[in-house]
């Protein structure tokens, strides 16, 4: 096993292999602060971008298992509300009942799941105001008065999420306010004159591990921070080729005093790590590619129910709750 000369912290991306990936996770080796104390400044978090439903942040100093646990928790354990039961009273459209019900389940709802309780097994579909949200969809497609058989002569032929109405139960109107779909223009079904849809939908709280409709994110992923080290100076034509090997913005050409152009690394963060350099044997030994093992660049994209800055603390709360549950069980068996 080859060890990188640079540092223990860096993976090495060679042409046909990735080296130094082991994180010393065997017993007897305790990197960092060993023993009983947990270092309070171990972690560093930097928010890079936060727009609407997108969040990009850096997590530095973390173990890969905890970064992965965070990703897995956001994906499958943070709860959301989604339509679970559909009572179809009338559906003369071309789409089958079960396909329609499946589509309704996938619609993201703009509700905070923390205000609700999980529904109990075997409880009636209608539920209570604490665990169920009720919606109604009632549409009938008609011909426009005095119009010919053209494309735009129908009324209500395209059914969007804006046709779904929320029916508040009990005190929900006061406590929750708004509980409609996140987007108004998601196409649910297409009708022609004479088709009718009448149904009641019931949304409950669930987790992504049960059904993907309950996942609060479009996706969440992380990658490691790339590092590029220029071992030799590269000029002119070679420099232009070297620049093209990396993603735009990573490497730039700077003019030197002799009038030549020299390749300079600006910011390796945006590099896609495609290792294109190795396709050119004369450029292959000019750079050393690698990744920093404990610098995770997280990307969280929410579906709209919760802002992404709420999802990360919720996931960590779930992890803490799991630890508490098991600590309680351990202590109970002791006493």
């Amino acid at each position: 096993m080859e060890f990188s000369s640079a540092s223990v912290n860096k993976l090495s991306l060679k042409e046909f292999e990735v080296v130094n990936t082991s994180s010393y996770d065997f017993t007897g080796h305790a990197p960092g602060v060993a023993g009983n104390k947990v270092d309070p400044n171990q972690y560093k978090i930097n928010i890079i971008k936060q727009e609407d439903l997108f969040l990009e942040f850096d997590l530095i100093g973390c173990e890969p298992s905890i970064a992965n646990a965070l990703r897995r928790l956001i994906l499958s354990d943070v709860p959301t509300m989604a339509i679970e039961k559909v009572h179809i009273y009338q559906n003369t459209s071309v789409m089958q009942d079960e396909v329609l019900a499946h589509r309704l389940g996938l619609i993201p709802l703009k509700v905070d799941p923390r205000k609700f309780k999980y529904k109990e097994k075997g409880a009636p579909d209608e539920g209570t105001e604490e665990d169920t949200l009720e919606y109604s969809l009632k549409v009938k497609c008609k011909n426009k008065q005095g119009a010919g058989p053209e494309a735009d002569s129908y009324i209500d032929d395209k059914i969007y999420t804006k046709h779904i109405q929320w029916i508040p139960k009990g005190n929900q109107e006061v406590d929750i306010g708004e509980a409609g779909p996140v987007e108004d223009d998601i196409l649910i079904n297409k009708l022609r004159p004479g088709h009718e849809m009448a149904m009641k939908m019931f949304a409950v709280k669930g987790q992504g591990r049960d059904h993907a409709k309950f996942s609060p994110v479009a996706t969440v992923f992380y990658r490691l921070l790339p590092t590029i080290n220029l071992v030799k100076d590269v000029y002119d034509q070679d420099a232009i080729r070297l620049q093209k090997c990396f993603s735009p913005g990573v490497m730039e050409l700077e003019p030197t005093k002799n009038g030549r152009k020299k390749a300079v690394i600006i910011d390796p963060r945006d590099d896609a790590c495609n290792r294109n350099v190795y396709r050119y044997p004369e450029l292959a030994d000019c750079v050393e590619l690698g990744k920093v093992k404990d610098h995770f660049i997280f990307n969280v994209e929410s579906t709209g129910a919760l802002p992404p800055t709420d999802l990360v603390p919720m996931a960590l709360d779930i992890l803490i709750e799991k630890c508490d549950t098991f600590l309680k069980e351990i202590d109970m068996t002791n006493t």
């Binding site: 646990a69 499958s76 923390r114």
Partner: protein
């Protein structure tokens, strides 16, 4: 605010010990977790490996169709495996709380800088 985790509908313990282990002393145990997977297993394993008194720590999911995870702990003489497990949970909780506070402060700082 209600609990984020769903209630355990099947009842009984989420954590138990694999049979036949208690005869070899307090230092070797295989713990059986119901309804847990790599999310918790890999984190616990990492926390256990940081403990210098742990000689062996590993987790496995015997079959993907069953929601069960086994965690094997072997420790030095005189240090019960259960204490190692307890310490791993406490450490994991500390790490998660630290991450949470760091994240919330980072978001606050970012929002202040934006405005």
């Amino acid at each position: 605010m209600s609990s984020l985790l769903p209630p355990d509908k099947d009842g009984g313990n989420r954590l138990s010990v694999l049979e036949g282990d208690t005869s070899s002393g307090e230092e070797c145990r295989t713990y059986v977790f119901r309804k847990e997977n790599h999310t918790l297993g890999n984190c616990l394993r990492t926390m256990l490996l940081k403990n210098p008194q742990v000689q062996f720590a590993g987790y496995t999911i015997p079959h993907p169709s069953e929601d069960v995870m086994h965690l094997r702990i072997q420790t030095v003489e005189g240090y019960p495996a259960q204490s190692a497990l307890r310490k791993a949970f406490v450490d994991l909780k500390t790490h998660a709380s630290q991450l949470k506070t760091k994240f919330v402060t980072a978001v606050d700082n970012f929002e202040k800088e934006e405005s």
